[in-house]
Symmetry: C2
Subunit: 330 residues, 2 copies
């Protein structure tokens, strides 16, 4: 009888946290995407319009890893009216040798949250200028918190600027993050001011209208846009991508349908078959990352199944080794 | 904190069996596919060639049902060498209102097995001639057993013929099924003899070469081909589909890429945009099923996410009502 380990969010929070080890794990996963015969099919996406909901399923097989994850991510955007979080989900880890289910990770989206933030840190590690005095974030939600925590692991900075559509949320975010980071965090009245003052900007919103204009770009700036993960979303003026010295995608095929690259192609500013380097190629040294401190770089992140396989495999191994979770005979 | 019900294969076997109730449940699900605003995205399929494995993910949202299932079906075809079954998997049931995970159904493929057989019975109910003296089955595996059990629920028959590539397996099947059904079951040396003697033939093999030739078709025959669920598989000579008086698909889009319809289109015998009626349309009375006893009918079944959502929803409700399974706080 197969035995399956059931891991709850609490089990997982106790064993996997957003730290440098996780950033390296995700970095290696991206490198594998560029150097190994990874299999990563397109995302299965189902919209449930009448419920204002959607569900995405992602997976990836990485040669050499014992398992592969299948992640189920529902987003139901009327949930807050019911006092429930919009985002949710779980991961299932299957043996890469037999396909047998090894573990069900009932993480309620926790692992997705931190593997997404870790990818932002990986992008900054390879693309941000060496010295970052000021960082900025657009948006004031959970990813705005986690992306900045992750950024601080790879590029310590002296101050943080935050802009959000809702000033009250920006204020609350500033207070919270100042306490967490131990540095000054100030709200700014416009995205433009945030971009002007920073060497690294992370955009974390579900915006459907560009928030950053090309004319605001300045030498020595790196922008990570992680908010767009669907065809209707768009955080960067398409001209930003055309004007950047270097654009890097987590996965070109996904960015061209779900990310900022999609909007730039739709606007006619980049050709439909535009193939910027992928993050994994930069990590693996197959493509250049930032080469001078005054370049303008942009990372377009849509989230990939390989991140899920990497974090689920590591989470399972740590929990199993520690005897955490519950084993069920099926 | 959300509470998730964990159901094992034993829990599920105790509450959901292959009976007329299940056939009706699957019949209603197909009818919904034709009459309601069902959302059923294409299957996510990942091949892991170096492991001789694959995994499929299916889902469907049915307006009016409390939940929707996401089913993960791995098939790793070297498993028998390790003493393990090739097929496996689980279903996850999410609330259709909030997307929150309600249950994890660790069925090891059991629910898929019986919902697949139930679909065969639904096809026979609407397409087979009224009187079936002899049924035949090609293949001697688990689906050969379940499809015939399911057929007996809707079209009682007096004898069963079985042909399989491996005569020893056919013999073992005949002995087992004779005991189970209480009727004569005999092996035949060729698929042709099986087809010649039967009014209903069910093909249940992973064949990549046609097993049934068009010249064997005779008036009053119904064929359900359920083996092909991938682009390389093919059980029926493409001319069988062209020659049948009525071809019915479970889902045209899937059959055109994964089923017998694919092979018939590839052979140039049917146009690429050929759109035969779907099983749900026949059930709902939107398209004619069999109208005379001497027609030749063919059902092309590839397996649909709507069957998974229907059986997972029913299984969860029955288990929850009976207090079966284990609740986990996440």
């Amino acid at each position: 009888m197969p035995r399956i380990r059931i891991l709850t969010e609490a089990d997982l929070r106790g064993r996997v946290t957003l730290d440098l080890g996780l950033v390296e794990l995700i970095e290696q996963a991206f490198a594998a995407l560029a150097t190994r015969a990874v299999v990563m099919p397109p995302i299965l996406s189902m919209e449930i319009a009448e419920r204002h909901g959607e569900v995405d399923v992602k997976t990836a097989y990485v040669p050499g890893l014992d398992g592969f994850a299948i992640k189920i991510s529902p987003g139901f955007f009327d949930n807050p009216k019911l006092g429930l979080p919009s985002l949710n989900g779980l991961m299932v880890l299957l043996s890469a040798e037999t396909g047998i289910v090894q573990a069900v990770l009932l993480d309620n989206g926790y692992l997705t949250d931190i593997r997404t933030a870790a990818a932002g840190a990986v992008a900054a590690k390879h693309l941000a200028p060496r010295a970052v005095r000021s960082a900025a974030v657009l948006g004031a939600g959970l990813q705005a918190e986690l992306q900045i925590q992750a950024l601080a692991l790879v590029r310590p900075f002296g101050e943080l600027l935050v802009w959000a559509r809702d000033p009250a949320k920006a204020e609350a975010y500033a207070e919270k993050m100042a306490a967490r980071l131990g540095i000054p965090v100030r709200t700014v009245p416009s995205a433009e001011e945030a971009v002007a003052a920073a060497q690294v900007v992370v955009t974390t919103t579900p915006s459907r209208e560009p928030l950053i204009r090309a004319e605001w770009l300045h030498p020595g700036l790196h922008v990570t846009a992680m908010g767009s993960d669907a065809a209707g979303k768009n955080e960067l003026d398409p001209a930003v991508l055309a004007r950047a010295d270097l654009l890097v995608c987590d996965r070109v095929g996904q960015c061209a349908t779900l990310g900022e690259l999609r909007a730039a192609i739709a606007a006619g500013l980049l050709p439909a078959d535009h193939a910027p380097p992928e993050l994994g190629q930069v990590i693996a040294g197959l493509s250049a990352g930032r080469t001078t401190d005054d370049q303008i770089t942009v990372a377009d992140l849509t989230g990939t199944g390989i991140q899920d396989t990497a974090i689920a495999t590591a989470a399972f191994q740590r929990c199993a080794a520690a005897g955490v979770g519950q084993e069920i005979e099926t």
